[in-house]
């Protein structure tokens, strides 16, 4: 089994602010992390490796500093790490990114065929959920999105069964390999790598591939030139004028609290009060 896990280094969105005047994203001093959704994908790939053996390769496209994110994945237990990094990739949207990653995976397959590609369901900085499906389409892989559980994988029969969370229930889906899976959050818990993993990570160099090494001949197909998406405006939502009110509970008295809360609701919404009185008569 050879799994490729696509990860992205993202700014910790919990700490990002939009500049009130210029409306640009202020990234200064915001720590870079591995996109949290991608960690569920990585853990799932590592679990498959524990079960069936094989190799887990982590792949990322980004600036040189993204190497830190890949190092982290190695320390979790991945075997190999590839960073595709080139100035030509700057400004890539999801179309250009999936093009570049698909090309890279084709290159990876020249050495070792890929059975599964994992991605997180989306990134926390882009929130598009488009790159995974884009890669699957370009490589002609089967696509299973929002997978919540991998039920079974049979390398011999080249089949995979997953559970997928969908509106109104859980779907059990089966398809053939090779396949790309986007993993849903909360499906597993990232392991705490062994000391041996840390040593291996420290000794494994992250491979850095430029555009040509990634097998992309036309610079116009990636980066800003290969990206039809235009961000026309970024703005921060207006802060809410109304603040939540904290109501103190006295002496653990739920009945009293209910009365207080109802009184507050009715004072704030006199119309509701009138209508209710009318209905009750």
């Amino acid at each position: 089994m050879h799994s490729v896990v696509c990860i992205k280094q993202v700014p910790d969105s919990a700490q990002i602010r939009v500049h009130p005047v210029t409306n640009t994203i202020m990234r200064q001093g915001v720590p870079a992390i591995v996109n949290p959704y991608d960690l569920f994908a990585l853990e799932e790939a590592l679990r498959l490796k524990d079960q069936l053996g094989g190799t887990v390769t982590v792949l990322s496209m980004g600036p040189p500093m993204a190497e830190a994110a890949l190092r982290k994945c190695l320390a979790f237990g991945a075997d190999d790490a590839i960073l595709v990094s080139d100035r030509a990739f700057a400004g890539s949207d999801t179309l250009a990114t999936s093009f570049a990653l698909a090309a890279t995976i084709r290159k990876i397959q020249e050495n070792m065929p890929v059975d599964l590609i994992f991605t997180g369901k989306q990134t926390i900085d882009g929130d598009t959920a488009q790159v995974g499906p884009g890669i699957a389409k370009r490589l002609d892989f089967q696509l299973l999105t929002y997978a919540s559980k991998i039920v079974a994988v049979s390398p011999a029969e080249k089949r995979i069964t997953v559970e997928r969370r969908a509106e109104g229930g859980v779907q059990v889906l089966e398809t053939r390999l090779p396949c790309l899976i986007t993993m849903l959050e909360g499906t597993n818990e990232m392991r705490f790598g062994d000391m041996a993993d840390l040593f291996r990570a420290a000794r494994t160099p992250v491979k850095v591939w430029d555009r040509e090494a990634a097998g992309i001949d036309d610079p116009g197909s990636v980066g800003l030139k290969g990206s039809p998406t235009v961000v026309s405006k970024v703005f921060a939502p207006k802060p809410r004028a109304k603040r939540a009110e904290i109501v103190e509970t006295a002496d653990n008295d739920p009945a009293g609290l209910a009365v207080t809360l109802l009184a507050k609701v009715f004072t704030q919404h006199p119309k509701l009060d009138r209508e209710l009185t009318k209905t009750v008569g």
């Binding site: 001093g29 320390a75 062994d194 000391m195 840390l198 000794r203």
Partner: protein, 434 residues
């Protein structure tokens, strides 16, 4: 089969980095273990970098180290509640290369230092906490981390695990820490535009100012406060002895908030954006608090060894120097084909005694005890000084001779003649004795 190295360095602070770098540069196989997410993520300092110490380890550090400003001006302020008496030393000498002291931001500096360590050939592993030392009888043969399969062997372990010195305590190499030997410091980094900082402090690009403060700012506790200019930010903080915090009701952050409201300080940070706050223990017990620093298979460097000169606000340079000396001791033993036994490693103590580290600590040996016993230096005197300055400077028709008498009288009323003489003697003993 456990991994084996010549040296394991625990911690990626100034001492740990100095030790790991020096060992790796000399060709030893080095593993540096750090519990934080990145090297430096747990480290807190004011911070001033003393060029001399780092220069001895990385002579060309100025080429690429992230330095904020070189210091050209030193102010010392004694603060009362709403006034300050101070002195300033500013010199163009400090504006000539090579510069002597710099402000730094540790988060940036430590990343740089760690890269140097890694380029020198040391293996640096983060997010692995060393939980205990592996012992064979009394001899340290390695460490055990919190990771599964975490046993790692080494000929020598350099403990640079910081102020709490957890490993040495666990192994019984040193007694528990005493609150009277530890200071607790809190600090904040406030961002301001570069031009604002430069105009507020009358400094040019890259030039910096240090303000060291004492007096009411510590609310009667033994301690000091500081304010440093960085490129686009101001660092300020206050630290007092832990034993004093235990007795007082004031919390460290309250102290810092009060300091920020002081009329001499508030205008300096006005309009700034606080971006970072941190707290840390500083070992300030001085010479007598330095524990046993070597044994079979182990050495202690940096804050873990209590190497801090509290009076002169020096710590990182002592940390780097002790880290470097620890490394040199191991390198020399390795070169001579000798084992890292306690008698052989005692060369480290000799190196320390011969360096400014122990000489300075010894010079101020009595200072901690004297200041602990005489809180008037942090309470009464700042007030008296401020009153004296007020009386002298205010022009109100009172003749100068009467003013001088009034000042004398307030001093005598608060401390008595004998008290004043005795205080002067104590102060002299604290800073001048050895």
């Amino acid at each position: 089969m456990a991994e084996k190295f010549d040296v394991i360095v625990v911690g990626a602070g100034m001492a740990g980095n100095a030790a790991a770098y020096t060992c790796a540069k000399a060709g030893l196989s080095v593993l540096q273990l750090e519990r934080g997410e990145t090297p430096g993520s747990k480290n807190v300092q004011g911070a001033i970098l003393y060029a001399d110490a780092i220069e001895k380890i990385i002579p060309d550090f100025r080429d690429d180290a992230p330095l904020e400003r070189h210091l050209i001006e030193q102010r010392v302020w004694i603060l009362d509640d709403d006034s300050c008496v101070g002195s300033t030393y500013r010199s163009e000498e400090f504006n000539r290369r090579p510069y002597n002291r710099y402000t730094i931001i540790r988060a940036h500096f430590d990343q740089w230092f760690s890269k140097k360590v890694q380029h020198a050939g040391a293996m640096v592993i983060c997010e692995a906490t060393v939980e205990e030392l592996l012992l064979d009888g009394k001899r340290v043969i390695g460490v055990r981390t919190d990771r599964k399969g975490g046993e790692i062997h080494a000929d020598c372990v350099i403990l640079a695990d910081g102020a709490n010195s957890v490993l040495a305590r666990k192994a019984g190499f040193r007694p528990e820490l005493d609150p009277k030997d530890m200071a607790l410091a809190v600090k904040e980094i406030h961002f301001l535009p570069q031009e604002t900082i430069e105009s507020r402090f009358s400094i040019g690009e890259d030039e910096g100012v240090v303000i060291e403060m004492a007096g009411k700012v510590t609310a009667g506790m033994m301690g000091t406060a500081f304010l440093y200019t960085n490129k686009e930010s101001i660092t300020l903080g206050v630290g007092c002895m832990l034993s004093d915090f235990k007795r007082q009701t004031v919390t460290p952050y309250e102290l810092l908030d009060r300091m920020k409201r002081h009329p001499a300080i508030a205008p300096l940070i006005e309009g700034s954006d606080m971006k970072e706050y941190a707290a840390h223990l500083i070992p300030e017990g001085g010479y007598d608090a330095v524990p046993q620093v070597y044994g079979d298979g182990w050495l202690i460097a940096g804050d873990a060894g209590q190497f801090v000169n509290g009076l002169h606000r020096e710590g990182s340079n002592l940390a780097m120097t002790t880290g470097m000396l620890a490394a040199q001791t191991v390198i020399e033993l390795k070169a001579a084909g000798k084992a890292c036994t306690a008698p052989n490693l005692s060369a480290y103590k000799a190196k320390l005694d011969d360096s400014f580290v122990m000489k300075d600590l010894k010079k101020y040996r009595r200072a901690p005890a004297i200041f602990h016993k005489n809180p008037q230096f942090f309470t009464t005197y700042p007030e008296l000084l401020s009153k004296a300055a007020q009386t002298l400077i205010r022009v109100d028709g009172v003749d100068k001779r009467t003013k001088e008498r009034q000042i004398r009288q307030t001093f005598v009323a608060r401390r008595s003649w004998w008290g004043l003489i005795s205080d002067a003697f104590k102060f002299w003993r604290a800073v001048e004795s050895k």
